[in-house]
Every structure is written in C-alpha cells, then in structure tokens.
Symmetry: C2
Subunit: 165 residues, 2 copies
C-alpha cells in the first residue's frame, strides 16, 4: 500500500460531506502564487474556502514563465483582479545554488537542464523580484494589487514585503 492509496481513502471521507458544484470563476477574484512547501497550507493560511481563489504553486513560489501563463489565464479568462505572492522562511530554495544543482544532475544523467532552477539567497529580494516580473509582464493586464509576503513557518503569520525595499 502506497501513501497515494492512503490519500485516496482520505478523499472518500472528504467526498462524504462535499457540497458542489461551485462556479468556475474564483469568487474572490484573487490569484495566489506560493511556494510548494508542505508546511504552507494556502487555504488555511488565508482562510480560503473552496471556490474562492486560484492557487498557483511551484518550487520557491517564483514567477516563472509557467507562473505568467497561469496568471494570464486566471485574469484574462477567469476574471481574477488581485495577486498574492507567498514565499516562506526556512525555504529549500535558500539551501542550494543553481549551478551546483544543475551540475549534479548533469553528472548523474548526462544532460544539464536547460531551465533555471531559480534558487535564491534572500527571501525578501526574491519576493521583490517576483513582484517586478509581474509588473513588467505584458501578458498580465491587472496590476493594481500585486502584493508579496513571507510566511513564517514558526508562527503561521504572513509578513508583507515592500515592493521597493
């Protein structure tokens, strides 16, 4: 029995009390882009209910091309108007450098990834980098509320990062 099988048993319990379907467009017109970190339960952290906000997540909560793709679809096709970016303390992306990570993959499998690993060495600087990437994207139309935060994995609190530093 895999962990996946255990999670499916939990899903059966979830479905017992599930009430749906809800509308497709997010009710709060918000898109969140957060790190994939296991300790960052975005629905819990922001008090979100099912149906309220798009949640985009990747390693680091970085604004990548795929993040821009997802945000463009979120705003242009599904009407979201605010963006919330969330990095967090004790992030794995602080623990390595792109060059060493990519070289280790090259040493093991013979091919070096063509993509950036997007490691960073300062949380607030990278939140600002993420805000700047959104502000400079032609493909994201609504930028009135693009705010960035660092989630504290010790306290559960979001601390806002000033866009200008």
């Amino acid at each position: 029995m895999t962990v996946t099988d255990e999670l499916l048993a939990d899903n059966a319990r979830y479905a017992e009390s599930f009430e749906g379907p809800l509308p497709l467009p997010p009710a709060k017109q918000v898109a969140v882009l957060a790190c994939m970190d296991a300790r960052l339960n975005v629905y819990g952290v922001l008090g979100l209910e099912e149906g309220e906000a798009h949640v985009i997540r990747n390693a680091g909560g970085v604004v990548t091309e795929d993040g821009i793709r997802s945000l463009a679809i979120s705003q242009r096709l599904l009407g979201t108007r605010e963006i919330v970016l969330i990095h967090h303390t004790d992030c794995g992306m602080l623990t390595f450098a792109d060059d060493e990570f990519k070289s280790s993959i090259q040493a093991e499998v013979g091919i070096k990834p063509s993509w950036a690993a997007e490691a960073f060495d300062d949380l607030e600087t990278d939140v600002r980098q993420s805000i700047a990437r959104i502000k400079h994207s032609l493909f994201i139309p609504v930028k009135d509320s693009v705010r960035g935060f660092v989630f504290d994995v010790a306290t559960g609190r979001l601390n806002e990062v000033s866009a200008t530093g």
Copy 2:
C-alpha cells in the same frame, strides 16, 4: 479595502492556533501536481495536514518545464518518492484553444506569447499526457508511483485515470 486585506485578517486568526515549525522535507514523501482551480482544495481533497506533501499547481495541472523543475527539486533535494497528478471536471482549460488565446493577447498588446497555453480538449487524455511527460523526463529519478486522477467538482471524488487508456 482589497480582498487581499481581508485575507490578511484571516491569516491573523490562523496564526493564533498555529503550531510550528515543522521539518522542511514533506513527511509523507509525496508531491502533488494539481490544477490551480479554486474549487480544488488539495489539502482537503487528500486529507493532508501541514508538513506532509509538496503541492505544485498551475493552470490545468499540466506537466510543464516548471512542473519538471519543481518535481526535480522535490525528489532530489527533499526526498519525495510518489507523484499524484490531479486534473478536474469543468476545467477552464477545456473552454479555449491555444491559438485563439494567444492571438487575442497579440491583438491586444502587440506581442504573442512564446509559450504554449496548454489548453486541452479531453481530461483523461491530458492526464495521460502528464504522466507520459514525467515518465520520459531524465530529471525526475523516482517513477515507481506516478498516478493521475480527475477530481469531480460535483462530488468531491478523485477518479483514477489509467496510464495506458
């Protein structure tokens, strides 16, 4: 007052009962890649608690280059060993085509995105495409448990998709 401000008030309530910090590596050694859809509360759907699984999400729950990047970091640096892919019924990605979406952006802002929008017209086929992209990636070392599901937004249930169709 923006919706973001309201979410911050909810965060203060979340932090009041928060117990942390937990370890960085996901306790269940699982990485989930799911659609960003607002109705898909991954922690709820799978009965996950904080600290148990990486959660990667984008428009469609598609295995993009950024998905591969995140999964590679998840397995190689943080020890996850199973992958759960989740698409869902009534997905926004079923409602448009890449060409029209990208042409509409080009018509509006003068530049056509260089990326694929990753729209699809059949859920199960795209889940299989996602499994195949992972199986064929050199950068993801552990592929013993890569399973794909369609979440039913009406019932709350996950329905497994056979990798071979």
